[in-house]
């Protein structure tokens, strides 16, 4: 597919990174020559220097032949305008990052429709929604939703002495009354798709597929449940913090936002819902955190603009025995490092955005016998969970999973048939119109039939 990415900031680079792995033809536009130089050295893309809103620039990037135009420059207005122009000049689909809260209230649909933009990206809101899911199931490292939130993929870390530790997948299935599928296990650098005899060890990161309604019960049955926290401290009053606070306050959580910039505090005070408490002060100050009750809070989320600050303060929060600590880390290298040092839950907005665009790009390949609806990358991007819509001419139809010769690095984690959700065993079949969730390591899937040997 021909894809144009306008704006090569943090998010733009993450998008280019994931898109080049999918073998798309990418043209990158940025107005900083240094950035263009860097991009053309790092990635196999065409990088051109110029303004994303100039007609000549768009012409030379051959926007008329583009299947997807993604505008992720600093400015919302530039994004909207360039998407509008690109759409008029023949780009088939356009995606604009629109993150100002002013645009994201009720008027967003109007803007999108009037400008002919196919999709609006709001990394801050997406991040907030993901964080909200994580905070609701605090014992999981991360939670991803499938099939309109009917099925959830939980990532857990196996602790010493827990039910998971040293038991095989089969044993676990006997012990636990809830249906589940173990989709992937990360041990060290390697990621496995486990068989029934696979024995979990301490320190493994395991991905479970369960029905959303039963997620809480499942965690309870394997002894991994934590009291769902009600008190959340958010460090840094970013836009993400605002969205998260709004979600949490609306669902009966007690939120406390600590922000060091006075002006920003004043702005937040205007828009924050009444259930949230706003503190003006430096959150890196331990005394202040003590005073605001870090010892007794249930969850701590660091959302300041600096990755390093987030990581450090989260280690401090961990040392104060806060049950759930989440750090926002955008730089991949830092996230890996922090994870190695023992920080479990790390959210990366730009990875979330890259995922959602990858999903969007693959879903545009409608010509295949199945259609990608959702994609999440798991286990530090070593594995992917994909949701496919099964169309009539798919090869997998009407055979039980036992009969299908699946690749060894692929597992079917869930089937959604109308309102029914199935966590499949070997006897279940895939029918036309189903949504199927597949987890695969290393291979990139574009079509459901690729899971077969």
């Amino acid at each position: 597919m021909r894809i144009i990415v306008a704006g090569c900031g943090k998010v733009g680079k993450a998008i280019i990174d994931s898109m080049t792995k999918d073998q798309h033809d990418i043209t990158a536009i940025d107005n900083d020559p240094a950035v263009i130089e860097e991009i053309s050295n790092m990635y196999d893309v065409m990088a051109v220097c110029g303004s994303a809103t100039s007609r000549e620039m768009l012409l030379s990037a051959r926007v008329s032949k583009a299947d997807l135009f993604i505008a992720v420059t600093e400015s919302d207005e530039v994004n909207m305008l360039s998407c509008f122009l690109a759409g008029r000049m023949g780009a088939k689909h356009t995606v604009a990052r629109i993150r100002e809260t002013d645009y994201n209230e009720d008027g967003l649909d109007f803007i999108i429709n009037e400008l002919g933009i196919s999709m609006a990206l709001n990394p801050e809101r997406t991040t907030a929604e993901t964080l909200f899911d994580w905070l609701k199931l605090p014992s999981a490292v991360s939670v991803d939703n499938f099939a309109g939130k009917k099925i959830q993929l939980l990532e857990l870390i196996v602790r010493r002495g827990s039910t998971l530790c040293d038991s095989s997948v089969m044993d676990l299935r006997k012990k636990c009354p809830i249906e589940f599928v173990v989709c992937a296990v990360q041990r060290g650098e390697a990621v496995h798709v486990p068989m029934g005899t696979f024995v979990l060890k301490e320190g493994d990161k395991v991905a479970f597929m369960v029905k959303r309604a039963e997620a809480h019960k499942f965690l309870k049955s394997i002894g991994a449940v934590q009291k769902q926290g009600r008190d959340v401290i958010i460090l840094g009053g970013s836009t993400t913090a605002y969205y998260l606070a709004k979600l949490l306050a609306g669902n009966g959580f007690f939120v406390k936002i600590i922000e060091r910039n006075e002006e920003r505090c004043a702005d937040l005070a205007e828009i924050l819902p009444s259930g949230a408490t706003l503190i003006h002060g430096d959150g890196m100050n331990h005394d202040l955190l003590m005073e605001e009750g870090i010892k007794s809070t249930d969850a701590f989320v660091a959302l300041t603009g600096t990755d390093e600050e987030n990581i450090l303060i989260c280690f401090y929060a961990g040392s104060q025995e806060v049950p759930k600590v989440i750090a926002k880390v955008n730089q991949g290298e830092l996230a890996d490092l922090a994870e190695k040092l023992g920080l479990d839950s790390i959210v990366s907005p730009r990875k979330l955005v890259a995922d959602s665009l990858q999903r969007y790009a693959r879903a545009l390949n409608n010509t295949l016998s199945s259609k990608v609806e959702t994609i999440y990358s798991l286990m530090d991007e070593h594995a992917e969970a994909l949701e496919f819509k099964v169309l009539s001419d798919c090869k997998l139809i009407d055979k039980s999973l036992k009969e299908l010769r699946l690749k060894s690095n692929v597992i079917v984690g869930g089937i959604i048939r109308g309102k029914e959700t199935i966590i499949p065993s070997g006897d279940d079949k895939i029918l036309e119109g189903d949504s199927v969730i597949v987890v695969s390591t290393d291979a990139k899937l574009y079509d459901l039939s690729e899971v077969l040997r």
């Binding site: 021909r2 080049t20 033809d25 990418i26 043209t27 020559p33 053309s40 050295n41 790092m42 990635y43 196999d44 893309v45 065409m46």
Partner: protein, 494 residues
Amino acid sequence: MNYRVIFNTIGKIAIILAILLVIPTVLAACLAESSWWALLTTVGISLVIGLVLTFAVRPKTKAIFSKEGLVIVALSWLYVSAIGALPFVISRVIPNYIDAFFEMCSGFSTTGATILSGDRIDELYGTHKALLFWRSFTHWIGGMGVIVFLMAFESGSSNRGMHVLRAEMPGPTVDKIVPRARSTAQILYLLYIGFTAVEIVALRIAGMPTYDSFVHAFGTAGTGGFGVRADSIASYNAACQWIIAVFMILFGINFNLYYLWILRKFKSAFKSQELWIFVGIIIVSSTVISVDLALSNLTFVSNAHDVVRHSVFQVASFISTTGYSSIPAGADINAFPLLSKGILFLLMFIGGCAGSTGGGLKVSRVALLCLAVRKELRRVVHPRNANAVKFEGKTVSDETLNGVARYFGLYMLILAATFLLLCIDKGENLTVESNLTAAVSCINNIGPAYGVVASGYYMYNWFSKLILSFAMLIGRLEIYPIILTFAPSTWIRR
């Protein structure tokens, strides 16, 4: 340094060289020439080296940076030249390895300088067609590049391939024509194959024997210049000479422009300033040389058509850095009047357009140098002058200008060093003229030189041949790869 990736890539190059060597091997077998086993042995050697390197040295990470890119390119070219020379040595056609290495450096770097005397070439044309085919085929491979070839046909490209591509492709800046490096390489090779095929057919129709058409098309496509006759192109009819002259010019033009033509973007293709400067230089210098030739009494020029043909052919041959000659046996380039020789000498420096198969400084670099000089002169008159340098409709950054200036400085230094080292040679009849033109000719990948060297490079001793071999590779790869590969600081782990 990511040694594993470097040696792994060299392994792949070795396999590709083995595959390419199969073509002359089959030809030798078909023609029942004695050299087939020499070629087959080399296929075997390269295949073994290639398989060992690709399978024994598996890269841990694919991450490469510009340093690795430069080293990969330099070592690949040294490898193909060193191994490509083996068939000549094994078959005793060129018994001395240094001679054979010189011949192959000259082949892959598309220089066309030869250590074979005219009589020897005529003799080999009778008995060793396959080896002469291989000699010219190296021009064709070297023209577009070994690494570009690898990139076009290897599946699974990595993100950082640009470092390698940039190190091999000529010109001050390298632009991709499509987003992916692999597709770019494929398009370039398709265009290249297409043009070569058209030339072969055209030469065949004009009356050149099939074998000769292939060999000369390869020589023209890579802007190399190895011939198979003692008098180069002169013994073929005028039509063949015109065809070759036109194709020499075509192969001296930036291939990106052809792609634009195919996409029917004529406007942006014809907007290229470099193209018009190139065409302008050809027109002006052929006119001047025509007048100069007409005014001097040359034995082999009898009518106006001859005058125009010789001048256009020689201009095309020198500016595209091919080095074919239309001057009949009994005379050579030394017979040309002084002004014509002077112009041709200067054309050697200019070379083809960036992104073509030609060598030399490249038209765009010369243009940028002139623009930079103009800017500096303006500064002298108006110290606060803030005008930007514009080329191809875009503002040229100071960094690019400085890069071009640095390149030119280094280029002149290497030229001086090569010239000086050649002067150590005590060979008979060597003069300042012959040594200077030989150095310029090899660094710019042209081939023929003035003085005694006009008939070949056989009078030089082994040391000079080695120096010139490296000069040719340095010129083809645009200095940095070879220089950095031999700089100790590139290899020391620090």
